[in-house]
């Protein structure tokens, strides 16, 4: 079990064309569709304060996919396939790559999550150049425990890991969140994916902990 304590986290879920999202997925995974032809792009940011690689910020872009659970396993809330992971420290990127096979970017980003009243704002930048700003008006929510699943791939295999998240939780589908994208390369990549730049769902978590299980080989990938 690997633990990551966080001060706060923000998630925003956007509709994106299924075909466009499919390009990020390895064989064996398919975008979960919010509507016919429309998958879900998740942008999540965490402000980790306690981990085995110290405190760091994290920005993840993922394709939401159906979770996998055998008959006797607990069915996760949902599953993600991260295709971009940026962090604020080199050691955390190495850790994400080595431990979880996640596609960590090779440059440190600056990632700030700030609160002003109920407004939460995520700002990410690289070398001082802003990438994105994501604002969600979500008050703190009641304590909650949820199980998610994360897929990752290396050259030969697709892997999965269960992630239990504890902490204050709040979500909304009021379409009040806002995403501002810059001209940065990653921002343009995101803009090219989105069907709509207003998230259809927003989430916020406070004072919580992620607990990763063991990374399991899910399937072999053959060329």
């Amino acid at each position: 079990m690997t633990r990551y304590g966080f001060r706060q986290a923000v998630g925003a879920f956007f509709v994106a064309e299924t075909r466009a999202l499919s390009r990020y997925l390895p064989a064996g995974l398919f975008p979960l569709e919010a509507r016919p032809g429309c998958g879900v792009l998740a942008i999540t940011a965490f402000d980790f304060v306690d981990s085995e690689v110290g405190p760091y910020g994290e920005l993840v872009l993922s394709v939401v996919v159906p979770p996998w659970a055998g008959r006797d396993e607990e069915l996760p809330e949902t599953a993600f396939f991260p295709f971009f992971l940026g962090t604020t420290t080199e050691v955390s990127r190495e850790h994400a790559r080595d431990r979880w096979l996640l596609p960590a970017h090779d440059v440190c980003l600056s990632i700030d999550i700030t609160r002003s009243g109920v407004d939460r704002r995520v700002r990410a930048a690289e070398h001082g150049e802003e990438i994105l700003s994501l604002t969600t008006p979500l008050p703190a929510g009641p304590p909650s425990t949820r199980l998610y699943q994360c897929f990752s791939a290396d050259a030969g295999s697709l892997h999965r890991v269960g992630i239990q998240v504890d902490g204050g939780f709040r979500d909304a589908e009021e379409e009040l969140g806002r995403l501002e994208l810059s001209h940065h390369g990653l921002a343009r990549e995101i803009a090219g994916l989105l069907e709509d730049d207003i998230p259809f769902r927003e989430q916020a978590m406070d004072a919580g902990e992620q607990r990763f299980g063991e990374l399991e080989k899910h399937m072999e990938l053959v060329s």
Binding site: Y24, P26, L32, G37, W68, F84, H127, A153, M219, V222
Partner: protein, 460 residues
């Protein structure tokens, strides 16, 4: 290969190179195959009892090694969710679905029914019942065949002819249901290489027709012509826009004139599903397009026989050429048994009443005004509705089922509607007004709704 070009670096996401093909590892086979469309993604729900962390959307997609594995997960959840409120969707009514209904499992009283589509109150009119009985006696229980193979009876022809005349169109075609009408028409008219554009809140039958057509499906923001224009602006080839007249979960109406203008500008055909607006809107009851004066701009007009006309079935009206083409290729009709003659006979009588008694629509709209005023006076949030479908916004997914039970205990029958049928935290009751309601009953129902919601801390 996906390449993310950063300002200072380049990140390659070479999925194709890393993972060109997949095969399950022994003992851990995984789900493969095409992803089916689902109404909503499986994302976390609100806190509360454990089963409330999940909803119907979580089990829509297969999981596990076997196609039946997901049923195990569903069964465990359903065992707790059903008694927690989902059983309200399995309630049997022990009477005709009239303005008062008997639901012995919930109440010994006859409840004021605000949940049925019987907008003009025709499903129990003596003339309608007698016509249905006469058709039953003349033709028997079923049509005993597809419309193109022995199932077409003279009563079907008569109804189609009168529907076309009612709408002022050249021809009409009947379908077994409104669902099959949308699926059949859309999947016949467009295909691969075409573009079909519809509203994000379009009915499942419209979306399913679009998916089945294999056309390029584009969704525009609900009732937003600017969003529609963005979807049409760069669309190449043949284009079809499909919208509804009245959207049944919010009770709001389409900006049909603006949408029709966009269709003209971008060379798109326009199809309007008037399931909830035909026989209700317009001086002659032809629907929202007549109400807004744009009937001539609508290429395909679709309706149902299950709402204002009080029975079942769907229909489409349009040019003779359109209908003849659909008769040849609309598989949902060609490969289905024709509507039962008793239904068609009854609908024919209902249609004639709807055509000759405009006072029914006047009475309906009077009742709508009475109910809307009464709910407003009670401080009830009715959303953006301007139609005979009035949402009672509760916005509490966890408690709406128990509120529904309280309403029934106090004398009102309403269905709880929650995610994924509507957005998360936007759960509601959908009030359907009928010309058959007595205004006094509607006022009484509004008072009960207001009282129960106040008791639960929901109304103003």
């Amino acid at each position: 290969m996906q390449q993310i070009q950063f300002s200072g670096s380049t990140m390659n996401i070479d999925i194709a190179k890393r993972t060109p093909q997949a095969r399950p590892i022994e003992g851990s086979p995984c789900r493969t195959g095409p992803q089916l469309a689902s109404e909503s993604p499986s994302l976390p729900a609100e806190t509360g009892p454990e089963w409330q962390h999940k909803d119907l959307s979580h089990f829509r997609n297969g999981t596990g090694a076997d196609v039946f594995d997901v049923q195990e997960h569903f069964a465990k959840w359903w065992a707790r969710a059903k008694p927690g409120g989902y059983d309200l969707h399995d309630l049997a009514i022990h009477s005709a679905p009239d303005v008062r209904v008997s639901i012995p499992r919930e109440s010994q009283e006859r409840l004021i029914n605000l949940a049925s589509y019987n907008y003009l109150g025709l499903s129990r009119r003596r003339e309608v019942l007698e016509a249905g009985a006469a058709a039953l006696g003349r033709y028997g229980l079923g049509a005993a065949g597809s419309p193109c193979l022995s199932g077409l009876l003279s009563v079907h022809e008569e109804l189609a002819s009168e529907l076309a005349a009612f709408h002022g169109k050249e021809a009409a075609m009947l379908f077994p249901s409104g669902y099959s009408a949308n699926v059949g028409v859309i999947s016949t008219l467009v295909g691969p290489g075409d573009v079909v554009v519809t509203d994000t809140l379009a009915h499942a039958s419209i979306l399913d027709g679009c998916v089945l057509s294999k056309a390029d499906l584009r969704l525009f923001r609900h009732n937003d012509p600017r969003s529609l224009e963005r979807k049409l602006a760069d669309a190449k080839g043949r284009k079809l826009v499909v919208i509804e007249g009245v959207y049944s979960m919010d009770g709001d109406i389409a900006p049909l004139a603006e949408i029709a203008a966009l269709c003209r500008r971008y060379g798109a055909r326009l199809m309007v599903d008037e399931a909830h607006s035909a026989f209700v809107y317009g001086p002659r009851g032809r629907g929202l397009s007549e109400h807004l004066g744009v009937t001539g701009d609508v290429d395909i007009h679709l309706g149902t026989l299950s709402k204002s006309l009080g029975a079942m079935g769907g229909y489409v009206v349009g040019s003779r050429g359109l209908i003849e083409y659909l008769r040849a290729y609309a598989r949902s009709q060609v490969f289905s048994c024709a509507l039962a003659p008793a239904v068609v006979g009854g609908v024919l009588a209902a249609l004639r009443i709807a055509a000759r008694e405009p006072e029914l629509r006047q009475r309906l709209w009077h009742n709508v005004a009475v109910m809307r005023d009464a709910l407003t006076a009670e401080g009830v949030d009715t959303g953006e509705s301007t139609s005979q479908v009035i949402p009672v916004m509760v916005r509490d997914d966890a408690s709406i089922a128990s509120i529904a039970r309280e309403l029934m205990a106090d004398g009102v029958y309403l269905n709880p509607i929650r995610y994924p049928a509507v957005k998360r935290h936007q759960s509601r009751f959908r009030v359907s007004i009928s010309a058959a309601h007595e205004p006094s009953e509607l006022k009484k129902a509004a008072a009960i709704i207001g009282r129960v919601l106040r008791r639960r801390g929901i109304s103003a």
